[in-house]
């Protein structure tokens, strides 16, 4: 085994133990490893970004293939960096406007198609199946995800959870039953995060749904869809 591998193994083991010391209590060794981790990660990202973007996506195509149009995104990227010059910081808005505009435009049709239409289509499925020779059948098998019984359960689940999160009417009478079904169903799915965003005003319930997207590019970052009175609000 080579020398650098042996040293590497010792370094890796040491750093691993430094991080694990946090389980006992916070200490300087953990802090050292934590800061080293941030530094190395940032350094790694910078090197990779330089190598991929500047060398392979910009420099080589321009020099080898004469793709001068690539200077446009470089210019837009440079505009972003004006954020660091207080007097010229407003120029960076052009770059952000472009990214956010394109991002929003790309997101609308694709989200509607992929997550709204396709999901509704699969929720509203026929409850009865026509089998040639056997006629109309209703399947009771719970273990078959496509059975008629499961289709009904899913339909009730989706409707009641949507009702719980979205409908503004005060949850009394039949509405309360539906909303309670929704919140009980949430116990079977990872929906508790959204429960935190429920809040109540003096006059009526207003339901909020938080949409948190991480590391995902220029998509909406934090969103609250609220129904108040007679219309929807986003804020």
């Amino acid at each position: 085994m080579s020398f650098e591998l042996i040293i590497g193994a010792w370094v890796a083991t040491g750093l691993t133990l430094f991080i694990f010391t946090f389980l006992y209590k916070d200490n300087p060794l953990f802090k050292l490893a934590e800061n080293l981790y941030v530094g190395v990660s940032v350094g790694y990202t910078i090197v990779k970004t330089y190598d991929t973007v500047i060398v392979h996506l910009v420099w080589k195509p321009i020099v080898e293939n004469g793709e001068w149009a690539l200077l446009i995104p470089v210019a837009i990227g440079m505009l972003m960096l004006t954020r660091y010059v207080p007097k010229a910081a407003w120029i960076s808005r052009y770059a952000f406007a472009f990214i956010v505009g394109v991002g929003s435009g790309l997101a609308i049709p694709r989200t509607i198609s992929s997550f709204i239409l396709k999901q509704i289509e699969d929720t509203v499925r026929p409850l009865l199946t026509l089998i040639p020779g056997e006629g109309v059948t209703f399947t009771w098998n719970l273990l078959n995800p496509a059975s008629s019984l499961n289709t009904i359960i899913i339909l009730i689940g989706v409707s009641s959870v949507l009702f719980y999160f979205f409908f503004s009417v005060e949850h009394t009478g039949p509405g309360k039953v539906v909303a309670r079904t929704g919140i009980r169903r949430c116990r079977f799915g990872p929906a508790r995060c959204c429960h935190r965003h429920r809040y109540r005003t003096a006059s009526r319930y207003r339901w909020g749904l938080a949409c948190c997207c991480s590391r995902g590019g220029p998509w909406p970052c934090r969103l609250r869809l609220v129904y108040a009175g007679d219309r929807w609000f986003l804020g």
């Binding site: 389980l23 090197v47 990214i99 505009g101 929720t123 359960i153």
Partner: protein, 216 residues
Amino acid sequence: MIFLRRQVPLLITLITGLVFAGQYYVPHPASEQMLTSVTKWLQIIGGFALVLGVSSLFHVHAIKIRRKEAGWGYSFVLYVGMLGTIVAGMWSNGKEAVDGAMTAFGWVYNFMMVPLQSTMFAILAFFIASAAYRSFRARSREAAVLLIAAVIVMMGRVPLGEYLIPLSGDLSQWILNVLNASVRRAILIGVSLGTVALSIKIIFGKERSYLGGGKE
């Protein structure tokens, strides 16, 4: 000046937003070519965005070191780690391995970054176990349902659980496939509606927070 500082960016967002939302429905070669070019541009701009994101970190830690604030030594370690990685990366042309042989950059990645990041995430498992002990209490009917569902799924997802309670496998599968899927689906539909609504608000200039604060 307000026109240049505020109206022009909003106009850029409006035009690009409408054009690229409409592009999805226009499969003409010119429209497709435009999408190809602009997504390539976004790749390049994404690189600058990353640099913008990480460079704010330099600033914060540089101030800490200059002012010798509490814990400035750790900021120094961060700088050493970052600069050391950059030097090793530039020396190795950004490659972790060349023809199967590990470079200096690869050494930093394999023996520092990988164990540090993996372990940082691993300690989360211990805290989750501790949190489960403290918070998984059947205080109400809803909490009891949550507790039972969690126990069934935890049993059904490991061989020992299926061995001890053979039914747990099928039951957890049903919970995931039917009950969980219906809840997640409703949330997915809700979040997607919100995403579309927010995108429309951005395009039409109702949502402007992305422009940042500062002077008009």
